[in-house]
């Protein structure tokens, strides 16, 4: 059954990781679904909300609802931005005591999915026909894991990728230390957390560390690159979009 999907790209991916967006479109279209990209979308407001700027977030919440409410499914290659919409939009609406907005965000929330949970739980597809001949480890980002509870959906997808050498990450559930503005406000603590994450990644001897969130991957990748560690970070969508014809993604 083909689904008409609205892609919620997130401002972060739109600007810094367009390749993840392209991969998400290619993947969903390859699976036979129709992808629409509402051009009015900008930012969900997560950074503002989590840094304490709730008042500034509200107009972005209203915008988001207006842009996406007409779709049967909204899919995003970002666990934390989906977490914002699904878990924190209701909190924002409650904060200003706006019952109408609360009703609207709750209705919308049930249709917003992180990519891996959309594939595995909603479409019930674990094998997306991908080919990726590399040693890969997976970091389950905090918001995917504990806020969205995507469970083993990403791992099931990865295990079905042909050619992959999947290796489990030790202490995988521990935060990488990104945390949005935390990485800058508490840079020392953030880096202390990162150094342990990098140690575990290097212990796996993987070539690639993947995740469902480019914000965490930018953090991990920034550390790996500074150390010339010889491990790259690649978003899960890009691995799933890779095929036999296109293995150098």
């Amino acid at each position: 059954m083909a689904v008409r999907v609205a892609l919620f790209i997130t401002c972060f991916n739109d600007t810094l990781f367009p390749e993840t967006g392209r991969a998400t479109v290619q993947l969903l279209e390859r699976l036979g679904h129709e992808v629409d990209f509402p051009l009015e979308q900008t930012c969900c407001g997560q950074m503002h909300f989590n840094t304490g700027y709730a008042r500034e977030t509200i107009p972005l919440v209203r915008r988001f609802v207006k842009i996406f409410r007409g779709y049967e499914a909204v899919v995003s290659p970002s666990g934390s931005c989906v977490g914002m919409v699904r878990e924190l939009y209701p909190m924002a609406a409650k904060l200003i005591n706006d019952r109408q907005l609360l009703y609207e965000v709750e209705e919308l929330a049930s249709k917003v999915f992180e990519l891996s949970e959309f594939l595995v739980n909603k479409l019930e597809v674990a094998d997306v026909g991908a080919f990726y001949p590399h040693r890969v480890t997976y970091h389950p980002t905090c918001h995917s894991l504990r806020m969205l509870k995507v469970g083993d959906a990403p791992v099931r997808l990865l295990e079905n990728v042909r050619g992959i050498d999947f290796v489990e990450l030790p202490e995988k559930e521990e935060c990488c230390g990104f945390g949005g503005t935390f990485a800058v406000k508490n840079a020392d603590t953030s880096v202390a957390m990162l150094s342990d994450k990098l140690r575990h990644i290097l212990d796996t001897e993987a070539e690639v560390c993947t995740a469902g969130d480019n914000s965490c991957l930018m953090h991990v990748g920034g550390g790996l690159e500074r150390l010339r560690a010889g491990v790259k970070t690649v978003h899960l969508a890009q691995i799933l979009a890779s095929t036999e014809e296109d293995t150098n993604r």
Partner: protein, 485 residues
């Protein structure tokens, strides 16, 4: 010898979390000790929780009980007062730390007590009771092994449950050799404990007044409960003729039956045990058995203000199990002292700023001492949504800065940047223009593919991490060119 403790509950300024964290992070011994200890406790906790098939229901029940208690706190406290009084105890109400300390000192003085023995109690650390009693000419002895170590070392606690978690046995041996007047001592835990036991036995027998905190107090019966591992608590609450208990008003529970839930939640969450070795209950006084005079001091010290905040209120549900500390990736690396409070870790990051009030520099930095990873919420036995409260308190800090901070608050670079970004995100054209500008703006920074140094407040990122430059084409540009729109 005594290291000056900087603490949010003491007068004067305290440092920001990030400043103190920098110091702790550089202490390799501390990093090793705390990393090892928290890893061990959290693994054991996971196993003991796994045993209970209804753990999630128990958490739900614990939260529901606390919710109801907080909603009717006024009634339950009055009921508690009545029950304790009926059982022969005396109840005192203390609005502040100062008032609470004065009551305790007054009781001790009325019995000419020179020496006071204490059960481990964070409430008394919050009020700085030891200092107060010492200033009144009394000697105060901490009898919990870890608290004793800390007291002898002249330090402050760095963990709710395991105050000396930052110390290893070699360090403890040093302290005992120096402070207890023992000549020979190995660093075998048995020997260390024995040295403390010999020292403490005499104190228990001599002290005229025992002081405790409380894990719970039952409104229905007036029963006070202390849960502990060593038995020193039971010594303190049974040997001295006078017992004073200082407890935060949020520790009241409605009925005896509620222990069914809390006695399953607390030991497993705190020490990973099915049951704690010593669980003591006492109801007022019993003739010829135990203390013949009992005082219960009910401490507010900012708690009613926390109660008034609808989102922040859940902070008062805390049963001080410390599970959130043991799973917190921030606490695991910085230890407790970086929080500059008797309440460290995730729960401290939300409790301290609320108890002392928003608008104090040091404690205002605490809600930011988290990556919002959510591990604390996942383990909390009474389901306190700590990340939610953290974000809520960040909002209160930002509002305080804007509303009370005058022009300086409004011109704060973060405030200005956030406002500008919010405006940019509210309009597609402004957003797309900003995307282009970020591509042009980065050229002096991007060298050979990645950015190694960022300016100003963002420099923290590039201290240890490179930054990927903005690519030539945004996603939406690709989409538009592909779809010809």
């Amino acid at each position: 010898m005594t290291k000056e403790a900087s603490d949010a509950f003491a007068p004067g300024k305290t440092p920001h979390f990030e400043e103190s964290a920098k110091v702790s992070l550089a202490d390799t011994q501390l990093r090793h000790n705390i990393g090892k200890a928290t890893r061990s406790i959290r693994e054991k906790r996971a196993v003991s929780v796994e045993e209970l098939p209804d753990w999630q229901e128990l958490r739900e029940a614990g939260r529901a009980l606390k919710e109801r208690t907080m909603r009717h706190l006024d009634e339950y406290l009055l009921q508690l007062e009545e029950s304790v009084t009926r059982a022969g105890g005396h109840v005192h109400w203390a609005r502040s730390a100062e008032e609470a300390n004065r009551v305790v000192a007054g009781v001790a003085k009325s019995h000419d007590a020179r020496e006071v023995v204490k059960v481990k109690s964070i409430a008394t650390e919050e009020t700085k009771l030891n200092e107060y009693l010492e200033n009144e000419g009394m000697q105060v002895f901490e009898t919990d092994l870890a608290e004793l170590i800390i007291q002898l070392a002249g330090e402050t606690s760095s963990h709710i449950l395991v105050p000396a978690i930052h110390k290893n046995r070699a360090e403890i041996r040093e302290i005992f050799l120096r402070e207890l007047g023992v000549d020979e001592l190995s660093d075998d835990p048995k020997d260390l404990t024995n040295a403390a036991r010999l020292y403490l036995r005499e104190k228990f027998l001599n002290a005229r007044v025992g002081v405790s905190g409380a894990n719970f107090a039952v409104a229905e019966t007036g029963t006070v409960c202390v849960v502990e591992s060593e038995g020193n608590g039971r010594m303190c609450t049974t040997l001295p003729p006078v017992l004073v208990t200082l407890m935060g008003i949020e520790k009241v529970i409605p009925a005896w039956q509620d222990f069914e839930v809390f006695m399953q939640l607390l030991p497993r969450s705190s020490t990973a045990e099915r049951m704690s070795p010593y669980t003591s209950f006492w109801t007022g006084v019993s003739k010829d058995d135990g203390p013949q005079e009992f005082h219960l001091v009910l401490l507010d010290n900012g708690r009613t203000a926390v109660l008034a905040d609808e989102v922040g209120r859940q902070t008062l549900y805390c049963i001080r199990c410390s599970a959130c500390l043991n799973v917190c990736p921030v606490y695991e690396r910085t230890g407790g002292h970086a929080y500059n409070s008797v309440y460290p870790g995730p729960i401290g990051a939300i409790l301290t700023p609320q108890l002392v009030g928003i608008g104090k520099q040091g404690s205002d930095s605490l809600p930011y001492a988290s990556s919002l990873c959510g591990a604390c919420y996942e383990v909390c036995p009474v389901k306190i949504n700590i990340p939610e409260v953290l974000v809520h308190l960040r909002g209160r800090v930002v509002r305080y800065r804007k509303d009370e901070g005058g022009l300086k608050g409004k011109l704060d670079p973060e405030n200005v940047a956030m406002k500008a970004l919010a405006k940019t995100f509210s309009d597609r054209r402004l957003y797309e223009a900003a995307q282009k500008a970020s591509r042009i703006g980065q050229w002096p920074l991007a060298r050979k593919g990645s950015i190694h140094r960022l300016p100003g407040r963002l420099a923290g990122w590039t201290e240890a991490r490179d930054l990927k430059p903005t690519p030539r084409q945004t996603f939406r540009e690709w989409w538009k060119s592909r779809n010809g729109s």
